[in-house]
Amino acid sequence: MTSKISTGEHMIAARPSTARTGPSILDRSAKIQVVIGIAILVVATVVPSALGLSYWIGVINLATIYIVASVFMGLLLVDAGQVSFGHGAVFGAAAYAVGVACGMHGFSFPVGILFGVAAALVIGILFALPALRVQWFYLGFVTLSAAMVFPQMLFAFDSLTNGLNGISIPFTALNTPTAIGLSILSILSLVLGSLAILTSAIFPKTKLGRRMRVAAASPEAAQSLGISPGRMRFTAFMIASFGTGLAGVLYPPTVGFVSPNAFHLDISILFFFAVIVGGKGQPLGTIAGITLLYMLPNVFLAQLVEYRPLVYGLVAFLVMLLMPSGIIGGIVRWLTLRQKPQAMPALQFSQIVDATQSAKHPVGDIAIEIEGLRKVFGNVVAINNVSMNVRRGEIHGLVGANGSGKTSLLNVLNGFTNSDAGSVKVNGKEITSLKARDVAHLGVGRTFQTPRILEQLGAWDNVQIGLDAKLSPNPTRVSPAFVDSLRDTLGRLRTESIPHGQRRLLEVIRVILTDADILLLDEPAAGLSPEERVAFAGLLRDLRDKLGLTIVFVEHDLDLVARVADRVTVLESGAVIASGDVASVWENPRVKPLFVTVRHA
């Protein structure tokens, strides 16, 4: 069920990659959304000011602030996979800090802003700490109860917060129209709102955004790329709190008053609803969400008074029932489903490695040295006293039936699992006690049996996270031409439409791009056609000969192994039953019956 929890997170983190891929229609959807979104904000801000409708000016400012807060809680939810039902407390803390600073101690608004953002960050840290330990709705409930306690604490420490009576601050200067007709406040919230919409579209395309989503979608993939999921979560909370804080500091001038009762649970729930009902990860999502869930019941239907909460609940309920991916999400999905998915053209391996390139490698002729390694899971001995070594610059095949311990061995080699006994030296450094991400920093890259091509990321992003994890400043070993053509190809694709075979290769390319000089490949050729295999074999040789990489690869296709491997190690029930050059191993009677291939086919 732990896995259920994590799938839960995958889902919650699922950002329709449709809106995320390179220069394509789908990306245009993101651009279009941003334009529409900002246009809406501008119109909504300018018109009331032009007509001098003070009520609407206030309402729009507030809605914009809520949109900003929702955007950043969405960033937390969608990009970092962190569930917070208590975001209103972050918002409220910022608002209150401004209230206290400016209203009670007479600081200027700019100073108040500093206090406000600081307060928001403090709450953010308080939320981030449990997040390092618990996840999914457990975290949700922790933050939820925090949000419930927040107003109580404002009461309890009334000497600091002026408790029940709240703090009244006119901020008339901010609210008086400037030469261009908009008040400074309106300008501030418009700018902030537009920036927020922009952020929600751009952040996922930044290096940080990508890494965050990798960490949320697949912690193990993240670690194999040298990313610390914990650090990512913390950063996410900080960014979210900062943005929400900025929204919060605009609350006092907008409403002119702060009071504990203004920041109870409902506002947290509103932000959460706005993100999901509007459409997770859609730039227009929060605008749609706040319009439906805040503006509709509280402004457009204000006359309904006591029926208002009913409207609120029904809207949220029906939308989720009819459009589980939210209003905008549903629309985008509907639009993209109507386009034919483009098939992915086969990759030209021969072009991957640019002959002119050559990298320098660590010295020493042993890349990996394994001594008496042992790993037990429950009562299954996964690795049974394995000793072997991998020479630098060689292609080393790991073969054996499913469950014979090949993958377990890889997991120890890249630091996922700590061995129970024995030692593993990579480039002469003992790694048995290291974390996966530290091993990655040593120049060990790996791919997975089920390729970690994450649908939470765009097709190209899945490769680019390799570049993000680049270990050295020197130019990429992969031919720039190939990278460009790949970017171009993938830019037009949706991640879902990449065939499994190709996914493995993309993962391999991703690892090469990280500059790792030791590659651990788990069944990289599974699902490739014979022709592709020949080409793939060529690629492995290129990697060895032209780039001098060391490659350990698990493979079932012995022909392929025979074609490229310098040496082979055969595992059986976690133990080495044969090791050495291919020819000798092949004739080993214990090895022969393990595999089946069509000789005459």
Binding site: M1, T2, K4, I5, S6, T7, G8, E9, M11, I12, A14, P130, R133, V134, Q135, W136, F137, Y138, F141, V142, L144, S145, A146, M148, V149, Q152, M153, F155, A156, P219, L265, I269, F273, I276, V277, K280, E306, Y307, P309, L310, Y312, G313, L314, A316, F317, M320, L321, P324, S325
Partner: protein, 295 residues
């Protein structure tokens, strides 16, 4: 002096038993579909309203009548939950986004609250217990506190029996451990999940009915109960009814002791700290085997 602690203990356990029952009603749905029903608090309140309705209809009912009314109330709430469950599971069957229940259950909770406010108004309904107070340690304890303890034990026993002895119960408790394997084994997944919703309705409905005299039956009192129920759930360990049975009273007593020693204004803070504390020290809860933590 010791009497005071004794009384606090008993009342804490009584109130905690209510939390335990809420937690159990969470559990059965959780193990079958992974859903945590945020509207459970409202269902609880609805159960209490049925008790009020009973008094309105029968005056102060006799013990026998009251006893007979419990299953009636339980079944009514079960039906309500069946409907909710059906609607909640609906999008999950076709959508690839499995989180919609998070919103739908919260939304249902909001809707029920709103409807209650419209039909019944803001005033809380008050139900007088048909049982005399029970004298204890020179003080007295209202019977519902003790009845709640009894009900918790009753449902605990029933659930343990149902989930372990009957094939259906077994299937329900297994479902979310591996839904695919469940399907492969030919289990009628959706139907079992609905059944679980119904069952949790029986639990929460009877609880609301029995505890009516000591709980707050109002349109806006549901959230507090959901939260307390969840705290009991997590501390006991998700999916463990034994955990719930023990953690509920634990929370109840802790909250009252905190009030007694520190002061009522910190009650909320204390129960939150307990929640966070447990999650940090032992994410899987006291009796839980499923970790809240994700590596």
């Amino acid at each position: 002096m010791w009497q005071e602690y004794a009384i606090i203990l008993i009342r804490g356990i009584g109130l905690g038993s209510v939390y335990a029952l809420i937690a159990m009603s969470f559990n059965i749905v959780k193990v079958s579909s992974g859903i945590l029903n945020f509207a459970q608090g409202n269902m609880f309140v609805l159960g209490g309203m049925l008790a009020y309705a009973a008094v309105a209809l029968f005056g102060q009912p006799s013990f026998i009548v009251w006893l007979l009314l419990i299953p009636v109330a339980a079944i009514i709430i079960a039906v309500v939950l069946l409907i909710q469950g059906y609607l909640t599971l609906l999008p999950l069957s076709y959508s690839d986004d499995q989180q919609s229940w998070l919103i739908t259950t919260m939304a249902v909770s909001i809707i029920i609250g709103a409807v209650l406010l419209l039909v019944q108004g803001p005033n809380a309904l008050m139900v007088r217990s048909i049982f005399p107070n029970v004298p204890l340690f020179g003080m007295r304890v209202p019977a519902p506190f003790l009845l709640a303890i009894g009900l918790a034990v009753f449902w605990y026993v029933v659930l343990q029996w149902f989930l372990s002895k009957t094939l259906t119960g077994l299937a329900i408790s297994a479902l979310w451990q591996d839904p695919v394997a469940g399907r492969a084994a030919g289990l009628k997944v959706r139907r079992l999940q609905l059944l679980a919703f119904g069952l949790s309705g029986l639990i929460i409905g009877s609880t609301g009915f029995v505890a009516a005299p000591i709980i707050t039956i109002a349109s806006d009192s549901a959230v507090a109960y959901v939260l307390n129920g969840f705290v009991a759930l997590v501390i006991g360990g998700v999916a463990s009814n034994t955990g719930a049975l023990i953690a509920g009273p634990l929370v109840g007593v802790a909250a009252m002791l905190a009030t007694f020693k520190i002061g009522g204004e910190f009650q909320g803070l204390v129960s939150m700290l307990i929640l966070v504390g447990i999650l940090l020290i032992r994410p899987e809860g006291i009796f839980g085997s499923t970790a809240a933590r994700r590596v």
